[in-house]
């Protein structure tokens, strides 16, 4: 072989040629036919052609791949560049000829790689931002922890611009978050302040809004909802604060008023200084802890209530004081006091808060000043009345003194009584004039005032009149006594003349002295002092007095008169006094002679079963009746008597004794009576039972219905 260092092709050709030469030799040897040789040569050509073709295809394919790769890479690069919005650093121009494909590929690939690297970086940057945005959004939305899904990156836009946008967004979100945090913080601060002032539990309140806010560790909710609620809570508490503040200020005002009213000492007021100093404060000025807590307000309320009570009781005291002042004045001037029940009711009303004590006080004050005026006008007359009454006292003292036979006996103090007697006599002489003057003054006063002058409820003029009458009667009585004594003297003298001896003088009835009625200050006693003399000694002709007394008497007197009535009733007439010198005790049995000699009894007056007489003494004390054969009792008479029965009052009913039995003291009484006497004077007071009244009412209402 010729080792030719030539073109490989030539090399091949030589190799092929030699091979062919070899082949021909073979074939020659073999003896292959021309056809067969042609066939084999054709085959050989064909096979060689195929091999060539395969290689060409392969090379073609290779070329295609390369082109593809370049195209791909270019496409990718374009995509990335558009997404990133950038070009690779060493970017070739698109129309630049780059030479062979392989060269081109070689150029593109690094570019691609670079861009890819950049893309990845960019993508991760985006991721970071997006994640952060997501996180903050979550925080703001308040969704708390939840599965962090990878945020989606928009691959088509990875440009810096977009990144910038996202960064801005992120910043905005961050700002918002911090704003919210700040808001919440501020709200919480305010809330804390309010809670402190109101005495509420801060944690409890905040917890109610949102539990995350109190958790020091975990993330706080920053949602709109939370903030709204928090804001609402703050507003609410503010309102409460204002409310309580106003209440406290009202209480403080009340306190000041009460202190003012009652002149409370400064030490007491100092204790509440911290409250009253805030009386005009506005809401934001009140910051002290617990200064508006419920307990504190209650404490202040209690104090105000206490002050109120003190005021009420002081008022009450005042009212009572005024009332006693009023009563005092009335008593001193002998005016009838105001009805107690009205004032008592008022006091009850004050206590229960119905009536304002101040009004009552005013009313009382007015009343008092009115009464004082009246008292003043009465002064003069009252002085005269006092003089008159004391003169009356002296008069009755004198009467008694005159009756005392021992009065001229020298004893201790006898000279004093003598002096007193003389003075009394002078006074008694002046009495009529005194009474006259007093009466005329009273009349003038009454005319001026247009009302009656009342002394302890009784008309003064009536009292004076009564006194005059009594006086007259007494003088008559004295005269009669003197006449009687004269008569007696004559009789004795006659007897002496006849028999030569004097019978022992009968003891005057005055031997039994009744105890003097005290002349104490009470007017009732005074009024009786004149009559007392009459009561105690059963002098005759009291009956006449009695009748007049009935006419002129006031109720007060009447009662006492009545007590004396029975004694007077059973007293004896002048003639009998001689015969039975003993004074009869009240309610003791009647001697028969009295009944038998009833014909002697001058007037029927002594036997008045006055219906008005409340026999406050027990009926059991009545005299046992005596069998009176004279009395003819028929039912008619009884009926007549019964008609006088007073209503609901135990009366001294003159029931005749029953023939069969002796009546037990408590059950019956018998006094002879005179028909004609009774009827005209007595007031017919008929008693009715409940059933009678009920029937009358029923009939009346039935008749009204039918009318």
């Amino acid at each position: 072989m010729a080792s030719v260092k030539k073109d490989p092709m030539l090399q091949v050709e030589s190799t092929c040629g030699s091979l062919l030469y070899e082949l021909q030799i073979i074939w020659d040897e073999v003896g292959e036919t021309e056809t067969d040789r042609d066939k084999m040569l054709l085959e050989l050509e064909r096979e060689c052609l195929e091999v060539y073709r395969r290689k060409v295809d392969q090379a073609n394919r290779c070329r295609a791949q390369l082109r593809q790769a370049i195209a791909d890479a270019q496409a990718q690069l374009a995509a990335i560049c558009s997404a990133l919005g950038e070009r690779p650093v060493h970017m070739r121009q698109s129309d630049q000829s780059v030479g062979s494909l392989k060269q081109e590929l070689g150029t593109i690939l690094p570019e691609l790689e670079e861009m890819q690297k950049r893309q990845t970086e960019r993508r991760s940057q985006f991721m970071v931002v997006l994640e952060e945005i997501e996180s903050i959004t979550n925080d703001i939305k308040g969704q708390g922890e939840h599965a962090q899904s990878k945020p989606l990156v928009d691959e088509t836009d990875l440009s810096m611009r977009k990144l910038e946008e996202l960064h801005c967004h992120l910043q905005a979100l961050q700002k918002e978050k911090s704003d919210r945090v700040e808001t919440i913080r501020k709200h919480l601060c305010t809330l804390y302040s309010h809670c402190s002032v109101l005495g509420m539990d801060f944690n409890e309140v905040v917890n109610k809004v949102n539990s995350t806010l109190t958790d020091p560790e975990g993330p706080r909710s920053l949602s709109d909802h939370t903030i709204k609620n928090l804001d609402a809570a703050v507003q609410k508490l503010r309102k409460v604060k204002i409310q309580r503040m106003q209440k406290l200020q009202d209480l403080a005002t009340t306190m000041l008023e009460l202190w003012n009213l009652m002149d409370t000492p400064i030490e007491e007021q100092q204790e509440y200084q911290h409250i009253t100093c805030n009386i005009a404060a506005s809401e934001h000025e009140i910051t002290q802890a617990n200064s508006l807590s419920e307990d504190f307000i209650k404490y202040v309320e209690a104090e105000v209530a206490r002050l109120d009570e003190v005021k009420a009781s002081k008022m009450k005291e005042l009212v009572l004081k005024k009332r006693s002042e009023l009563e005092d004045i009335c008593r001193k001037t002998h005016m009838l006091p105001v009805s107690d029940s009205a004032i008592d009711q008022t006091i009850v009303a004050i206590e229960s808060g119905i009536v304002d004590a101040t009004l009552v006080l005013e009313h009382l004050e007015q009343h008092i000043s009115k009464i004082k005026e009246e008292a003043l006008s009465r002064k003069e007359i009252l002085e005269k009345v006092e003089k008159w009454l004391s003169a009356c006292d002296e008069e009755s003292w004198l009467e008694e003194y005159n009756r005392d036979d021992n009065r001229y006996n020298a004893g201790r103090g006898a000279h004093l009584t003598l002096k007193r007697a003389e003075k009394a006599r002078n006074l008694v002489n002046k009495l009529p004039g005194m009474v006259e003057a007093l009466a005329s003054k009273t009349i003038v006063w009454e005319q001026e005032k247009g009302i009656e002058f009342l002394y302890d409820g009784i008309r003064l003029l009536s009292m004076l009149e009564e006194y005059n009458l009594l006086r007259q009667e007494r003088e008559e009585e004295h005269r009669r006594q003197r006449d009687h004594k004269k008569l007696q003297g004559q009789l004795i003298a006659e007897q002496e003349a006849l028999y030569g001896s004097k019978p022992s003088p009968s003891k005057p009835l005055g031997g039994k002295k009744a105890p003097r009625m005290s002349t104490g200050g009470a007017a009732t006693n005074r009024r009786l002092s004149l009559g007392a003399g009459m009561h105690q000694t059963p002098k005759p002709n009291k009956k006449a007095d009695q009748r007049q007394i009935d006419g002129a008497l006031s109720t007060g007197r009447r009662g006492l008169d009545v007590a004396g009535l029975p004694s007077r009733k059973q007293s004896m007439n002048p003639c009998e006094q001689l015969q039975s010198p003993l004074v009869r005790k009240p309610f003791s049995p009647l001697p028969t002679t009295v009944v038998a000699s009833k014909a002697n009894i001058a007037t029927p007056q002594q036997l008045l079963p006055t219906p008005k007489s409340n026999a406050v003494n027990e009926i059991s004390a009545f005299a046992t009746p005596v069998k009176d054969n004279n009395s003819v009792r028929n039912l008619e008479e009884e009926k007549l008597m019964m008609m006088q029965t007073p209503k609901n009052v135990a009366a001294m009913i003159p029931i005749p004794s029953t023939p069969a039995t002796i009546s037990v003291p408590m059950q019956t009484a018998a006094t002879p009576f005179n028909n004609a006497r009774l009827l005209p004077e007595k007031v017919e007071v008929v008693e009715y039972s409940f059933e009678e009244r009920r029937l009358a009412f029923m009939l009346q209402s039935e008749s009204l219905i039918h009318v």
Partner: protein, 317 residues
């Protein structure tokens, strides 16, 4: 009020159904059964069977019925403001008029001893009637007896009749001789007589007055004859309380819980086991609004009514 520790708190008693619709003037237990006759201002007389709490009969009269009493279990008598005296027959539901007074008749009693109906009226008379007489007012009237005043209450025991009138008169009659009273008395109480009741043992009577006091009297006035055994008795007042008293010791034994209204009438049953209480406003304060009428029937425990032996201190004090 006595607190009796061993017994449960006292109740007012069983309330009867269908009480009268206006004031109750009186109520009575029958002598032979647990029937209760009730007279009322609503013009009706009602008969109740207490054991079954049912209304057995009702009679409408011309005016308010002021009193009623039993004759026997089949009939009774009633009187009222229409001045009539009636006999009412329960089962048959019929009534006839025995007679009339001139004014409202206030009380009625039946005397088993005399076989007569006794009535007292505000016309100041007491009349006796024979219910067996033929119908026709004139024939049944046996007698008429003038009283000092309007009759307010009467009571019978044995042959004695006690009449209490206005003006505090008390007349005591022997039914066998009504021509005049056996005794004429005056109430020892100071106020208007409200009611008179004789003791079951016939030795005397109790008088009550509008003041609220009770006086115990005896028929026989001699000291020796007076065994002074007052026994125990019940009183009812306008204060709504029913009190049980021991007359001998003059102490209150028991007080039942307050009834809604004034006690208008009381009646013990024949065996003393039951007490009927009429709680009904008695017009003591005139016309005014008041609780509705009610009738209570309560059991009477022995411990409430037995006088306490003197050896022990009396808790009622």
């Amino acid at each position: 009020m006595i607190k009796n520790m061993s017994l449960p708190p006292p109740s007012a008693g069983r309330e009867l159904a269908n009480p009268p619709s206006d004031g109750i003037s009186n109520l009575r237990f029958s002598n032979t059964s647990d029937h209760l006759l009730v007279s009322s201002w609503d013009k009706r007389v009602r008969l109740y069977d207490v054991s079954t709490n049912s209304l057995k009969g009702e009679f409408l009269h011309g005016g308010a019925v002021l009193d009623c009493c039993f004759h026997d279990d089949s009939s009774g008598f009633s009187v009222g403001s229409d001045n009539k005296v009636r006999r009412i027959v329960f089962n048959v539901g019929k009534e006839d008029v025995l007679g009339m007074h001139e004014k409202p008749v206030r009380c009625v009693e039946y005397s088993y001893a005399a076989g007569q109906v006794i009535t007292g009226s505000w016309d100041k008379t007491v009349k006796c009637w024979d219910p067996r007489g033929a119908s026709g007012p004139e024939r049944t009237q046996v007698g008429t007896y003038l009283q000092p005043e309007r009759v307010y209450s009467l009571s019978l025991v044995g042959n004695r009749l006690v009449v209490a009138t206005a003006g505090r008169h008390v007349n005591i009659y022997d039914l066998r001789n009504m021509s005049q009273p056996e005794q004429r008395r005056e109430s020892s109480l100071k106020y208007q007589t409200r009611c008179v009741r004789s003791y079951p043992n016939g030795t005397g009577y109790a008088l009550s007055s509008v003041e609220g006091r009770v006086a115990m009297e005896f028929f026989d006035l001699s000291e020796a004859a007076q065994a002074k055994n007052y026994g125990t008795f019940a009183t009812g007042g306008c204060d709504g309380f029913v009190n049980i008293w021991d007359g001998n010791n003059k102490k209150r034994l028991y007080q039942y819980s307050k009834y809604p209204s004034s006690i208008a009438a009381l009646s013990f049953s024949r065996d003393g086991q039951l007490l009927a209480v009429a709680s009904s406003y008695t017009f003591e304060e005139g016309e005014k609004s008041h609780e509705p009428e009610a009738i209570f029937v309560r059991n009477v425990n022995e411990i409430e009514v037995k006088p306490k032996p003197k050896a022990y201190p009396n808790p009622a004090a």
